[in-house]
């Protein structure tokens, strides 16, 4: 979990105007997210997004993803994996250990992401990691009719699940997943509502394996 990482960066750069805002995509709400937040004890805003509204607004299809927003509230980096790689796919699934080279690659990616953040906080618009508007738009997914229909289905499923209609909810989650197969948020949240362990269970690994050479976290070109 990245909450302690954001806390360390916040301590380091808050005088320079840096502020992390963490958003938990948890349909189960505070009860699901609170233990992690308590453990990290963050002093920056740590918000609970039961309906995955921020995912929809900022087009986030996985966690952890992040968006960089400047002082004028302009997006300077669109939704992208926040310093993570596909290294977890090389994990030994019985003891969760990772081969050293995969672990090294993950640590290097984390480091370069944090260094990029530091560069942006120090240099602002002059930072090479603050992208031009054209580049931000190029990197965005264009919302399609399927995307917005998937979101409407997910919202309906989430509403029913919250009211104890778990079985009825699943058909709308299924439709959301069908319409937006690239959204791991839809898949894993729906599994987690069935059974908290399912989001990291055999179904999850089978879906990850089905990616084959495809990426779970698309690599970022410049960070």
């Amino acid at each position: 979990m990245d909450l302690p990482v954001w806390q360390a960066l916040f301590q380091e750069m808050k005088e320079q105007g840096f502020l992390p805002i963490a958003v938990a995509f948890d349909s189960a709400g505070v009860s699901a997210a609170k233990p992690w937040i308590d453990a990290a004890n963050p002093t920056y805003p740590c918000l609970i997004d039961q309906k995955h509204l921020v995912a929809e607004l900022y087009d986030m299809v996985n966690v952890p993803t992040a968006v960089w927003i400047d002082e004028q509230e302009r997006i300077v980096r669109p939704s992208e994996p926040a310093g993570v790689t596909d290294a977890f796919r090389t994990m030994d699934r019985t003891n969760f250990s990772m081969p050293p080279d995969a672990l090294g690659e993950l640590m290097a990616k984390r480091q370069s992401y944090q260094d990029g953040l530091r560069d942006w906080v120090t240099n602002g618009a002059k930072s090479k990691f603050a992208l031009s508007p054209a580049e931000v738009i190029r990197r965005m997914h264009t919302p399609s009719d399927d995307h917005v229909r998937a979101a409407a289905n997910f919202r309906l499923g989430e509403y029913l699940a919250e009211r104890g209609e778990a079985k009825s909810a699943q058909q709308y989650f299924a439709e959301a997943k069908r319409l937006r197969p690239e959204s791991w948020n839809y898949k894993r949240q729906a599994w987690a509502l069935e059974d908290p362990l399912k989001a990291g269970g055999p179904e999850f690994w089978a879906s990850v394996d089905a990616l084959g050479a495809g990426k779970y976290y698309p690599p970022i070109e410049d960070l």
């Binding site: 320079q16 963490a22 938990a24 948890d26 002082e71 919302p143 917005v148 979101a151 509403y159």
Partner: protein, 141 residues
């Protein structure tokens, strides 16, 4: 849920409506309630929100408006919004149009939102204007 009650999920909110009447695929609601849940106000020139007005297509007026009621399903369709409904629980989910989402995203203005922290205190993203914000997602699952 009362048998005549109907829930509409629109934007961030789910609203229980008393005036709603389902006729097939159409959803007739008092125009006051439509304004309250969607922000679209029925005016002589059409349906208006802020300074945008969408005229009712000529010749199809009766599909949109009848007395003090209007057809929210027809309006959603006109605006390109997806509709997903659950008949058993009488819940309609009306999403956002892809065109509007695209316009909002490519404006590069960070969308605003309001969410609670674990203590229930609400935070708006726009409260933090003037900061360099890392908006980072995570999940317990």
């Amino acid at each position: 849920m009362a048998s005549n009650q109907l829930t509409v999920i629109y934007g961030e909110r789910a609203s229980a409506l008393k005036s709603a009447e389902i006729r097939g695929e159409q959803l007739w609601i008092d125009t006051d309630e439509i304004s309250a849940i969607s922000g679209w106000v029925k005016k002589p020139e059409g349906f208006c929100k802020g300074n945008i007005c969408v005229p009712v297509p000529t010749g199809r007026e009766t599909q949109f408006v009848a007395g003090r009621r209007a057809n929210l399903a027809a309006l959603a369709q006109l605006l390109g919004q997806p509709i997903v409904k659950d008949d058993e629980h009488r819940v309609w989910s009306i999403g956002e149009s892809a065109t509007e989402r695209k316009r909002a995203l490519t404006s590069l203005e960070a969308p605003d939102f309001e969410l609670p922290d674990v203590n229930g205190r609400m935070h708006r993203r726009s409260e933090y204007r003037g900061k360099k914000v890392l908006l980072a997602s995570w999940a317990s699952w």
